[in-house]
Symmetry: C2
Subunit: 214 residues, 2 copies
């Protein structure tokens, strides 16, 4: 059964692929699963019909028959469980891929999102400069640890997995900020992810939504 | 094989059970799996031997034969996969339990941790009062959505699952802050979690580490 995902009707990042539907599109492309997209406006996202699918009023959601999912990582987990290509075949390897999914979203992403939120909401506040030094430091602590662990490996744990997919999308949030420049191996890691044909197809598809809406 | 987890040698919260080993202890108690605990100092946590297990220099870790895991949620995922009691028996129900695990850690926890970090690090800063209003608002947005979804159900999706276990530990971080008072159903939900015999055993065990170290 062809699943349906939701995405922003109007791209807040103008097609840069930072919205969380990009992760799900990428995962679906990696495993070769066709899908439909239903676009939702910012108003519709907060309305009861969408909240019945997504209690926090966000995108993406995933509908496949009776199964309704939200949280991009959970959707990717489901795709990885059903199709080959995103989890290693052995149980321990699969568990470690899940571990890197949680590490991406609960250890590496929060300070990156916090720093970004301050850049959007607090630039004009008198405290901005002083706080930003603290926020940069928190991001750099995580990046330095991640860079040390990755070393010169291509991916975090053997073959490319759902853990890498999420980690690359988390690090991509720093695009254009110059923060990753200090970590050449993380720059190369992100570039490797972006060079995957599945990433390229997913990126083109989300960009087409923005281009069509202009 | 009896697994070994790591925990703080010296409890930063004086035994209130807010450190992330509490989640893992609780999960192990729910499924009746005995375990060993290795205590680590703040210095040892940042040293190479521990970083080989946990690249971000944190606790808990989980060692079971050749399998080494970090990220409390990934450890709980592994326990839930191997033993009955934390995941529903049907595939879709299990996927939804994983969804609530990610929702707890990536949607509900980040604003709670951010608010808490400001209370620890920025109380003396001139901007504290003005920023705290924003941080409270972000936490309340998530709590209101979660409260609406939970309604008068006992747990988030049918029987108690690993998703509830993580969500309760996330909401417990607000203990003593008065923030949950506005959401009686969430207060009752946390109380239901804390009343589980497995929670009580896990809580007593982490408290004993603090008591013994005094």
């Amino acid at each position: 059964m062809k699943p349906t995902i939701t995405a922003f009707e109007s791209s807040p990042d103008e097609g840069e692929g930072q919205a969380r539907d990009m992760r799900v599109r990428w995962a679906l492309e990696e495993v070769g699963q066709p899908y439909d997209v239903r676009l939702v406006s910012f108003e519709a996202m907060k309305a009861p019909a969408h909240r019945a699918l997504q209690p926090f009023g966000q995108i993406p959601t995933y509908e496949e028959g009776d199964l309704v999912l939200f949280e991009s990582a959970a959707i990717i987990f489901h795709i990885a469980e059903r199709h080959a290509g995103l989890f290693p075949a052995d149980d321990d390897g699969r568990t470690r891929a899940v571990m890197w999914m949680f590490a991406a979203l609960n250890t590496v992403e929060p300070p990156i999102v916090e720093r970004e939120a301050a850049m959007i909401l607090e630039t004009k506040k008198p405290w901005y400069a002083e706080r930003q030094v603290m926020l940069d430091e928190r991001v750099n602590t995580r990046l330095a640890d991640l860079s040390r662990r990755l070393g010169d490996a291509a991916w975090l744990d053997g073959e490319f997995s759902a853990g890498d997919l999420l980690m690359v999308t988390v690090l991509r949030r720093l695009d254009g900020h110059g923060v990753l420049d200090a970590y050449p191996n993380l720059m190369a890691y992100v570039a490797r992810g972006e060079a995957r044909p599945a990433f390229e197809r997913a990126f083109a598809d989300q960009l087409a939504v923005f281009t069509a809406s202009r």
